[in-house]
């Protein structure tokens, strides 16, 4: 019945034994230099570790297995990229508007993959135990692979569409990209334990599902098989990273009771930081995918409310509670994407991707998904904008917005209990005023004001004369953005013109 070959005579080491050989007994107490000089960052955050060997990677991945599986992933991915290019796969997407989600991804997310590579390489060096060092090293290599494969895959789109030509440069300069950039630099400039709580736990474990899973599923639904493939190739590593995130938290919590309040504070901070960053994802899901998988509100319910309940229930045995202001995020779920899309619609003349008003059919979908908010608060706004555009007066906000000092997003979020009023919060520090979009962002500032008074706020930087000039055109040139092609509404863009030509060709000579 069983056609499998008999087991080899020599006993193979079990998974647990192989992992133990890799991660135990490799480190030693240094003698030429004292340990605290060799590992200078490991204690100043106040986290106490008594037994580094208590760390265990649940996957127990050894180096040989790591190389083998990673090579297999690369082989599969490059086969797909190759055939996508040869078969002009970009012609099979649902609509060229979809490519704008890729533009945001390439300029906003892919550079973070590279930052993650650097971050994990750094903290991997600074942990004492061999277990976490190896897990961090593997993740550092994974993240470098993610950055490379994403750039490689999307380079195909760069041959045809605007706004994809200089993501690294844009990431460092363009106003809305300061949101992801400052998020990650905040984490990288923290100590190694906070970095892992921020990125491995709060971001990878708690929130990253909301970025990758609906986005990749959305890519598939919109005919973009290349993106699906790099997404899944990365996401298969992500499952391991998520496990690392949960493991590091439990490890720290189990090591010493005194670690609990420190970690809770970090979870509060990084939940809110990450949630604000995901505002960009909410608009991708509800507005930028021509064919939609699920709404932001549904994704939030599935991946934060339900999954988060289970997670924090599990962590409650250590005295950890749900992150502060999670209930505010849940209150915002019915308006987040609409508010964020409105912000980008206001300032598309300064963005490296296009925005547009949803079609009537799309508005019907939004009404159905957001029955309590869409028709009441957003449809009238969108209909007004649609009319203005029909009259040839597409609305662009001519004045730069106030930004939140912490998350750096324009202050377009409304009061938790009132969708008609902007939420303004402020604090004084050393005689100067600072403004925030939410209590969450204000708390983060007040816990570490010295850090956030250094925020490089794009609007203020323009006014200080640090961004190439005073006119939009000057600033866009400094961003390396092509005025008149990369920016403005999708309607009338070169992307649209090209796409419509392709569709016309398809119609006249079907292949």
């Amino acid at each position: 019945m069983n056609a499998m070959p008999p087991l080899p005579k020599q006993r193979k080491l079990s998974l647990k034994e192989r992992y133990a050989h890799l991660t135990r007994g490799l480190g030693w107490e240094t003698t030429y230099q004292p340990m605290d000089k060799v590992f200078p960052y490991v204690s100043y955050e106040g986290i106490k570790i008594h037994d580094w060997d208590a760390w265990e990677d649940p996957f127990r991945l050894t180096m040989d297995a790591y190389w083998k599986y990673q090579a297999e992933k690369e082989r599969k991915l490059y086969a797909v990229i190759e055939s996508f290019a040869q078969n002009n796969g970009h012609l099979n997407i649902t609509d060229a508007r979809y490519v704008n989600a890729l533009k945001l991804f390439l300029t906003g997310v892919s550079p973070l993959e590279y930052s993650a590579h650097r971050g994990y390489a750094h903290v991997g060096r600074h942990f004492v135990g061999a277990g976490p060092r190896i897990a961090c090293q593997m993740q550092a290599i994974d993240e470098l692979r993610h950055a490379q494969t994403q750039i490689h895959t999307m380079s195909h789109y760069n041959k045809f569409f605007d706004g994809l030509h200089d993501p690294r440069h844009m990431h460092d300069r363009v106003w809305y990209l300061s949101v992801p950039k400052s998020f990650f630099e905040d984490a990288c400039s923290a100590g190694p334990f906070e970095f892992l709580t921020a990125i491995s736990f709060s971001f990878e474990y708690v929130l990253t599902n909301l970025l990758f899973v609906p986005f990749m599923s959305g890519a598939a639904y919109n005919g973009d098989m290349a993106t699906v493939t790099f997404g899944f190739s990365a996401q298969s590593d992500e499952a391991r990273h998520m496990t690392l995130g949960l493991e590091i938290i439990k490890f720290m919590l189990e090591q010493d009771e005194a670690n609990v309040p420190i970690i809770q504070k970090w979870i509060d901070k990084w939940f809110w930081r990450g949630y604000r960053l995901l505002g960009l994802v909410s608009m991708m899901m509800d507005y930028m995918l021509p064919k939609r998988i699920m709404s932001w509100a549904e994704a939030w319910e599935m991946y934060f409310e339900q999954a988060g309940d289970a997670l924090f229930e599990d962590l409650s045995r250590y005295g950890i509670r749900k992150p502060k202001y999670h209930e505010v995020a849940s209150k915002e779920k019915h308006r987040l994407s609409h508010e964020v899309w409105s912000i980008f619609y206001n300032y598309t003349h300064a963005a490296a991707f296009h925005t547009w008003m949803p079609t009537e059919e799309e508005m019907t979908w939004l009404s159905a998904k957001y029955p309590d908010t869409f028709d009441k608060y957003y449809r009238p706004r969108f209909e007004c904008w649609t009319e203005m555009q029909a009259e040839g007066k597409r609305f662009y906000n001519p004045t730069l917005p106030q930004l939140c000092v912490t998350c750096q997003i324009p202050m377009g979020f409304t009061e938790p209990d009132d969708p008609t009023t902007i939420c303004f919060r402020s604090a004084d520090y050393k005689g100067e005023r600072y403004h925030f979009c939410s209590d969450g962002c204000k708390d983060i500032f007040q816990n570490e004001p010295e850090k956030y008074i250094q925020s490089w706020l794009p609007v203020h930087q323009i006014y200080q004369g640090n961004c190439g000039g005073a006119e939009v055109k000057d600033v866009l040139a400094w961003y390396h953005l092509n005025f008149g092609t990369d920016n403005f509404d999708y309607e009338g863009s070169p992307d649209q013109k090209l796409w419509e030509e392709w569709q016309a060709q398809k119609a006249t000579n079907p292949v």
């Binding site: 996957f59 991945l61 599986y69 639904y221 996401q235 298969s236 998520m242 289970a310 229930e313 045995r317």
Partner: protein, 96 residues
């Protein structure tokens, strides 16, 4: 009371893995989405190497899961014969 979850790619191997999981975990709920499948299960969910090998018709190293995984929720416990996701039984039982 808490659900664990695993999400797999809709590839040939991924589909066989879903079948194997459903066979071993009758309480598992399966949701199909474009390109991926999410499986949720109360408290715990196990993949057994034997069940997978029977479907694949070949030897299977559980670490090959790395190639099909997208996401998971729950504490992971893996050895040579099984891969388990579980939430802790009874809060407060293992306080540090």
């Amino acid at each position: 009371m808490s659900k664990v979850s695993i999400t797999l790619q809709n590839t040939d191997e991924g589909r066989l893995l879903v079948e194997a999981i459903v066979a071993d975990n009758p309480a598992a709920e399966v949701s199909w989405m474009p390109a991926l499948t999410k499986i949720d299960c109360e408290d715990r969910l196990s993949l057994r190497r034997e069940t997978i090998e029977a479907r694949f018709g070949r030897r299977y190293d559980l670490q090959e899961l790395q190639l099909s995984l997208i996401s998971l929720a729950g504490n992971v416990e893996e050895d040579d014969d099984s891969f388990t996701l579980a939430w802790a039984q009874g809060a407060g039982s293992r306080k540090a």
